[in-house]
Amino acid sequence: MIARFLGYIGCSVREGLAALGFAIRSFFSILRVSPGAFRRPGLISEQIHFIGNYSLVIIAVSGLFVGMVLGLQGYYTLNQYGAEQMLGQVVALSLVRELGPVVTALLFAGRAGTSLTAQIGLMKAGEQLSAMEMMAINPVQRVLAPRFWAGVIAMPVLATVFSAVGVMGGYLVGVKLIGVDEGSFWAQMQSGVDVRADVLNGVIKSFIFGIAVTFTALFQGYQAQPTPEDVSRATTRTVVIASLLVWGLNFVMTALMFNK
């Protein structure tokens, strides 16, 4: 009984390590063929347009509402200490450091990530990737690498849009609706937000999330069995794995970046 249980644990660990190793190998195979993808920037810009279009509206609208809620909640809390003039700084720091990169990555995983997984999975099911291989065209270089870099480039841009629209949402609620002083709102934001420590770290976060989410989406699509059931399961796996990766990576990066 115990031997069987230990055997089961051992087998699971071995399979998990093998899957992790395979994922890492696949990641490096995308990196290896990336110079070839960058020699054809048109393929990457086409995918940036595709992925950006997919996610822009939901990210802008979500950013607006998150910013508005931050404006409300921030005001209620700061008002208790007579510090409502700090609202601009609170809204901006929350968005730039945490909510912008994290929520954008989660929305990206749900919107563009699932779409990428389904697209690659269906290309595989329709033998399009095999057809490419038989045409002596490496599908990793022609299909996966441009999408990977498009996702990696699009993520910080989308996170910036999220944060910018979120700040406007906070401004609308805090200044226009509640009546916080406009000069204090912007002045506190300007003095309290550091470009390198806050903005740049936020951009680095979203860049890392871009790598994690886009690779997860592509890998799940590429590994899916060419059946409708497995393609649908792969899209679900993309959301679950990418979301968990985002939370985990966010904790590690926050601990490393904002430890003073």
Partner: protein, 267 residues
Amino acid sequence: MSNLVEIRDLHFAYGERSILSNLRMDFPRGKLIAVMGGSGCGKTTVLRLIGGQIRPQRGEVRIGGEVVHSLDTQGLYRLRRRMGMLFQFGALFTDLSVFDNVAFPLREHTDLPEELIRDLVLMKLNAVGLRNAHRLKPAEISGGMARRVAVARAVALDPELIMYDEPFAGLDPISMGVTANLIRNLNDALGSTSILVSHDVQECFAIADYVYFMSAGKIVAEGTPTELRVSTDPYVRQFVNAEPDGPVPFHYPGKTLADDLGLGART
């Protein structure tokens, strides 16, 4: 006449399940060779081994003297540039138009100016009768038309070797006849070698120069269509005449019906 493709002592298995064993086949240059057999007999696996998509456990596939499975990735891609393949359902890129599908290998592998690519693509589409459909998307054309577009794409780079995987599957009789003639004409016009995997007897016998019959991963008969039409081999007779029972049994191997119904125990 020399062989473009030679298969010797080929064994292939998925895990414990043997798919091909001790296969020996020759595909002479300029000829159209059909590989026939029932579903699951290993026909498509032969094509995948020739294309280097899978590796055999034993034996070798030679194309133009090169052993496919000893090549590295670059060598394999170099070899594949001399091949064209038609997949069972066309495998067209659904996000590209008919024109862009046929232009795809030309754009990927050549530096030809766009005007020349346009002319070449229209000529290829003209050869399959679909020049006027070049603006349509794969979703807007029928299965038979998609198959012809895929043929045009497969021959876009004028390959030495063209492989067709079940090109007649799911086609109406007219499309079947059109596709069969197209395969024969392209083979003759390009001077290429064609391997046609199918189980459609009439079409294959009408256009093939030589036919291999496979069953359970082995060659069970071979010859010209004329020889096979008069063959007395039980497998060939069953296949050509579409007989429900014979060397290929109707019932999946296993217990008898009497055993399953418990009738054997009562007697």
